[in-house]
Symmetry: C3
Subunit: 321 residues, 3 copies
């Protein structure tokens, strides 16, 4: 705080809090979301065979949070369609990313500097979405903390949380993966934000809302940019997370000797074990791989098929160079 | 128009617009829907093992549109059950089609002339359903064209659009197929109707509603009858559809050289490529078939399993002779 | 009735009808539900890898009925979260069952006498839940019998009916099983209860509500206790069920000669054919097993994977000794 004068902090916060999301930040969000779809395996083929399924899938990437929170609150999941300007914008971006002659738009937006800027702008919209969800839930459920967190989370990370059903639109079904079992970075960061904003709104956290918005936004933007530039996908709070996990959920497993079969029965352990499970499954992984064919009810249907369908954010340009 | 006097056209339109759907046309709709279910692979076995699952599945075939549009508008998906007369009628038909001694009802209704008449009558109900959806959405979302089309479409072709979940009730799961990826004839014709009626309701299309109803109904009935009698399943607007597709979505693929892997990764190409994708994938298909076992993440789990679960309408009697 | 004086029956009924469910009976319900989850294959591994997914799954076991009936009535499926006390209680129980040091809680609650008492208490909550669903539907749909039964059933047996989607949270997908195709004991008994209470509420059944509550509760408790103590899982009304089934749904199959392929196409027949289908498929089973690899579109993906994910209630302590 030493390098900010309080007045300039306030000015910055106010400036950010009054920043209009529409159209520039929304456009960045749509571009990054549609790019993430396009970079999923099979999406190009789908765009060629069924533009309609591709469009629906794109809209779920762009408006997944609104659809999911609408579903959870028993409001029409179709409501995002009623926002004509946003839908038009998202549709134009979908068209340009998938069908632009010479693939100019895709080539341009995946240039590293362009993509870094777009991704950073997208992170800014996350703050607004979480806050929108939290205040919506607060109105409906009188300061019920749990629901505020749930709706804030759904709004901010909806695309990831509904990824199973978004994939179904594209004819893909990967039941063995979902964002609850292995949270991706954006899902985690959104959950953290939802908790913070919910605590702020219910006065448990005595921070001014505009300051929290500023800090959260700066944190997500800086972190996202760092991740894209370094190609790292580590979660900055992994040590804390791991420490808490160790204290809370390890009582029964003091010596890391989980039965191989129990883990192997339901999870694909090889490539992408979450940070949380890594230590405990380190020893198990090797055996499990060797014995995979003996695992009785593993839903794994071939190694290749188990690569995760990631939330849009985890796809930074590094990976696709 | 030359062979109609205007007055007689008006009379015909009025006559049609005032035609009560209940009970005769509704009955035809239920019979055709339940027949379509019964002709799906495994449905007989299901009716024997679990009449309840069979009944639920039949109701989803009969009232799928209402369930889907209810879900999209956050109205109780269970509401169709409250219409006791219709449910009773549909249940009686379900019982007769599946469990009638000597299979008399099934044998009778699948006689070609009977089935043609029933299918034609079912097509008439489509007009009413689409229109019902469009006006419902218009009331709720003040002339929002996109939502009007979506709800009209959902109402008219709901059974097909929710087929993945309807199959789940029967213990079947075919994620690789859905009506968005490869639209069947009734889904396409319903979408077209929804667009027309939505344009009419919002005054973009300056036609009288009753005339549009007449033309659309005559078109669907004639076309359906033609398809059943000739055994063809071609879509009458394929050339236009293909032309539009070529212009809009082929910019990036001028020489039809889609990467084999991209298409092969997610779609079953062999038997049933949609009209749209056919030309572009013609060359790819052969290779793809040969290389199927090399396709890394194909969700195909055996050729036989990939036959489509069709919307009720595509099952005309020809196929089952 | 001879051993009850009418006055004492009334007293008993009143006593039961005024019994508060919260907290003791609710606690028993949560414990039995979470135990049922813990005893599912892979649940231990999940609790280790993703406590959040494990918690969500537990909540769906505990509040599945409310979630499902909320979804069916277009009320927020998230609403159960707003009941802070219940959620807190269920979460504490979830934590203790899965993460208690030395596994003390699990070891204690799975002692046969403790589990029998808890299961019996859970059965008592069933009556309240069914009745709650029935009256809720009655308010909304003016004595519509079908909806009252459906909502009462959903409330009372929600956890089982949504088991497909509850499993999806845990990364498991077993489309070939659901409670509609092969109803488990608690699902059947709940459906029976929903029918009885709906008939009572609409005056078709001239019994006092408190008496019906007493009889139904005593019946379920006694029956559940009997099942747990004897290790039997037979449905007490199987003969009646089978008789009705024979009369209603066997018209077309007088000689038990269902086509092998039809049944084999969609169902796993071996281990767990429902009572209903048993007689008819007796002959088919053997052939089907031998010919399984020839069954064209069987969704069976390995014998082991087809073991059913049971409703919580079917897991009595016997099985895990």
């Amino acid at each position: 705080m030493s390098f900010f004068e309080m007045s300039s902090l306030d000015e910055l916060s106010d400036g950010l809090a009054n920043l209009p999301m529409f159209p520039y930040f929304e456009i960045a969000h749509y571009i990054v979301s549609v790019l993430a779809l396009r970079e999923q395996q099979g999406a190009i083929g789908l765009s060629r065979i069924s533009p309609l399924a591709c469009w629906v899938s794109s809209m779920l990437h762009c408006f997944g949070g609104a659809v999911l929170s609408g579903f959870m609150l028993a409001e029409p999941p179709i409501a995002p369609l009623s926002n004509s300007n946003n839908i038009l914008l998202a549709s134009i971006i979908w068209y340009l990313v998938f069908y632009c002659p010479m693939d100019l738009v895709y080539s341009f937006t995946t240039l590293l500097p362009v993509r870094v800027v777009l991704s950073a702008m997208k992170e800014v919209t996350r703050t607004w979405k979480i806050l929108g969800g939290v205040t919506l839930a607060q109105d409906k459920y009188q300061d019920n903390l749990l629901i505020m967190i749930a709706i804030g989370w759904a709004r901010g990370a909806g695309g990831g949380l509904i990824s199973n059903f978004e994939q179904l639109v594209r004819g893909i079904w990967r039941p063995e993966t979902n964002e609850l079992i292995r949270m991706s970075y954006p899902t985690k960061i959104t959950l953290m934000g939802a908790v913070l904003f919910a605590l702020q709104e219910t006065q448990y956290l005595s921070v001014e809302k505009r300051h929290l918005m500023l800090f959260y936004t700066v944190f997500t933007v800086v972190n996202k940019t760092r991740m894209m530039l370094t190609g790292s996908s580590s979660f900055p709070f992994s040590p804390i997370e791991w420490f808490l996990f160790e204290i809370l959920f390890m009582g029964r497993f003091p010596s890391y000797t989980l039965s191989l079969r129990q883990i192997c029965g339901n999870f694909i352990i090889g490539n992408g074990t979450s940070n949380r499970g890594r230590a405990a499954t380190r020893t198990a992984t090797k055996e499990c791989k060797d014995n995979r064919h003996n695992c009785p009810s593993s839903p794994v249907r071939g190694d290749r098929g188990t690569r995760r369908a990631k939330d849009d954010d985890t796809k930074d340009s590094k990976k696709y160079k």
